[in-house]
């Protein structure tokens, strides 16, 4: 085993000696660019290290060879074969610039990606909850009783959270017109779901289908024990087994990391902030005139109250709901990246999901009954364009191209961005 030779498809970095995949564009460790178009590029390689094999595949995507024979016949000692007309910029400066332009993200191990995303989400979530309590405190301050404000914020949150908890997933399922998968017709889908449940170490979820040509999927349920996976028939029919595994693994990852619960909590937090601000904006002006005060607000003095109200409360109450919504969308995007990374961990095959996402982009993700209330649930947002960078702040999903790019980076494949 120890004497196993480095596979010819491996590429040893000339700078730090790290073995890389044969089709890598950059060293995974030191970011040294490979595939320099000039023969000098291979020159400084140390004697023990392997020169760059001229693997035609990635280069062919950048600029096709004039003749296929030249790609096949190109010996390893003749890197000029990979410098076709499109990259004929002479000199090292030109080649360096080309390399930087093609730069992909560094290779991203799925477990590290998952851990990083989990940390980000936890931080965002804590920030949102702290902001809610702080908002309650400030509103309470403006009304003359900070603890009461915090208490009101907590009560509002508790009421909304319990309502969301008990209304359950059945509401979503019936709203999307999903029905239980037929064991005869959707045999492959059911088998794939069971495979991924085994891979995730979770109980087999219930499987529903939505009868439509649009290609989409989502998962729901508070706990893994009562989870459901919902897939459109368009997706189940048009994806091959490998791609379907990727999509189902993505949903299974949502279930395992309780993103369905996260979604409910995020929605509730945003709702609580909006409600609190509403309560404050409507309640406060009337308080001084002797109208019924909001519950828990006991004004100390008119002057102090309205001064603090103008200075602190008003701008905050106007900005807070918007900020909360942006944060929620940010959480949603983080969860999508996280689920993609975890899906790659379950199937050990990030390219299956990447291929599925590409097919969804081509085939369309529209789902009847998809609306603003449920858009964040789906694997690809059914309402938005796929690469809507201009409205990135309020998007529930990252641009699909970015997700495909990250998945390919996990497989060590460079993507031109």
């Amino acid at each position: 085993m120890a004497s196993r030779p480095v596979s010819p498809r491996m590429l040893t970095c000339p700078r730090c000696g790290t073995p890389n995949r044969g089709d890598a564009w950059f060293c995974n460790l030191c970011q040294e660019p490979f595939r320099k178009p000039s023969p000098e590029g291979a020159g400084p390689a140390s004697p023990g290290s392997r020169a760059f094999p001229s693997d035609p595949r990635p280069v062919a995507t950048a600029a096709p060879h004039a003749t296929p024979a030249s790609a096949v016949a190109a010996p390893r000692s003749a890197p000029p074969a990979v410098a076709p007309a499109a990259r004929a910029m002479p000199g090292s400066a030109g080649s360096a610039r080309t390399a930087r332009g093609d730069r992909p993200g560094p290779m991203l191990p799925f477990d590290e990606a998952a851990a990083a995303n989990a940390r980000n989400t936890a931080a965002l979530f804590a920030a949102l909850f702290a902001a809610l309590l702080a908002l309650g405190y400030v509103i309470g301050l403006a009304s003359g009783d900070p603890p009461a404000g915090v208490a009101v914020a907590a009560v509002v949150f508790a009421i909304l959270a319990s309502a969301a908890w008990f209304s359950g997933a059945s509401l979503v399922l019936s709203a999307q017109d999903a029905r239980e998968a037929d064991p005869g017709r959707h045999r492959v889908l059911l088998n794939v779901v069971e495979e991924m449940a085994i891979a995730a170490g979770l109980p087999m979820p219930r499987v529903y289908v939505i009868e439509t040509d649009g290609m989409n999927a989502f998962a729901t349920g508070r706990t893994p024990g009562e989870a459901s996976v919902v897939v459109t028939t368009g997706l189940a029919d048009r994806l091959n087994r490998e791609e379907l595994q990727g999509v189902v693994a993505h949903e299974m990852a949502h279930i395992r990391s309780r993103d369905t619960l996260y979604n409910v909590c995020a929605a509730v937090l945003v709702g609580a902030v909006a409600l609190l601000c509403d309560l404050f904006l409507r309640g406060s002006p009337f308080r001084g005139r002797g109208a019924s005060p909001g519950p828990g607000f006991r004004p100390l003095g008119r002057g102090a109250g309205s001064f603090a109200f103008l200075l602190l409360g008003l701008p905050l109450a106007l900005i807070a709901p918007l900020a909360a919504k942006l944060l929620r969308m940010s959480i949603s995007r983080q969860r999508e990246y996280h689920a993609d990374a975890a899906a790659a961990g379950l199937t050990r095959n990030p390219l299956g999901l990447a291929a599925a996402l590409e097919k969804i982009v081509q085939g369309g993700a529209a789902v009847p009954g998809g609306n603003r209330g449920t858009e964040h649930l789906f694997i690809v947002n059914p309402l938005r364009a796929f690469s809507d960078e201009s409205s990135a702040l309020t998007a529930t999903h990252p641009p699909t191209e970015r997700r495909i790019e990250r998945l390919k980076a996990m497989a060590g494949i460079a993507v031109r961005s």
């Binding site: 045999r187 088998n191 794939v192 069971e194 495979e195 085994i198 891979a199 995730a200 170490g201």
Partner: protein
């Protein structure tokens, strides 16, 4: 300041309970994962007689292939011990593969819905076996991480939590597959 030893003792005791329970949970998880592999292997054994029943009428000239599958199944069921079992299962996988390669030569067999349904079931079961093995290895890794890292390694060594073994693919399956695969 007489409360300090009490609090310190309480903290250490709470840490001990949490860590010990965590170790037990991880150990049970990988043991359960091992039995999940057996569940899937048994399912494959149960499917094979159905498959043989369906294809044997068509394949009068291929009795040799069928016999090899049946023999391999019998050997896999009779095998005892993890290593012997793994080897027998690998033989069975190989014979099933050659059986399905033969099925490709019989158009009427390929068109048979029962055969394609059984083929799908067996393919899914193969996947389930490998995902169950993958999950077992993940569970073993989580357990081994816990018993080897500070500070839970103290509890692991005192209360005898030995490192668990990974499931290993056999050597020849690591070799690059040859041209016999379609």
């Amino acid at each position: 300041m007489s409360w300090i030893p009490g609090v310190a003792f309480f903290v250490v005791f709470a840490w001990f309970i949490v860590s010990y329970n965590g170790l037990v949970r991880l150990r049970n998880r990988f043991r359960n994962a091992w039995h999940q592999i057996d569940v899937q292997l048994k399912r494959r054994h149960d499917l094979i007689p159905n498959l043989v029943e369906v294809v044997k009428d068509y394949m009068s000239y291929e009795q040799e292939t069928l016999k090899r599958v049946i023999d391999a199944r019998g050997a896999a069921q009779a095998a005892r011990g993890a290593a012997a079992q793994a080897e027998a299962e690998n033989v069975l996988t190989g014979t099933l593969r050659s059986l399905f390669a033969v099925v490709e030569n019989y158009p009427e067999l390929k068109a048979d819905r029962n055969v394609s349904a059984l083929q799908e079931e067996l393919a899914a079961t193969e996947n389930k076996i490998s995902f169950a093995r993958q999950f077992y290895n993940d569970a073993v890794m989580a357990y081994n991480n816990m018993i080897q890292s500070i500070p839970s390694n103290v509890i692991a060594s005192v209360f005898a939590f030995p490192p668990a073994d990974y499931f290993r693919a056999e050597e020849e399956s690591r070799a690059v597959p040859g041209a016999d695969l379609r």
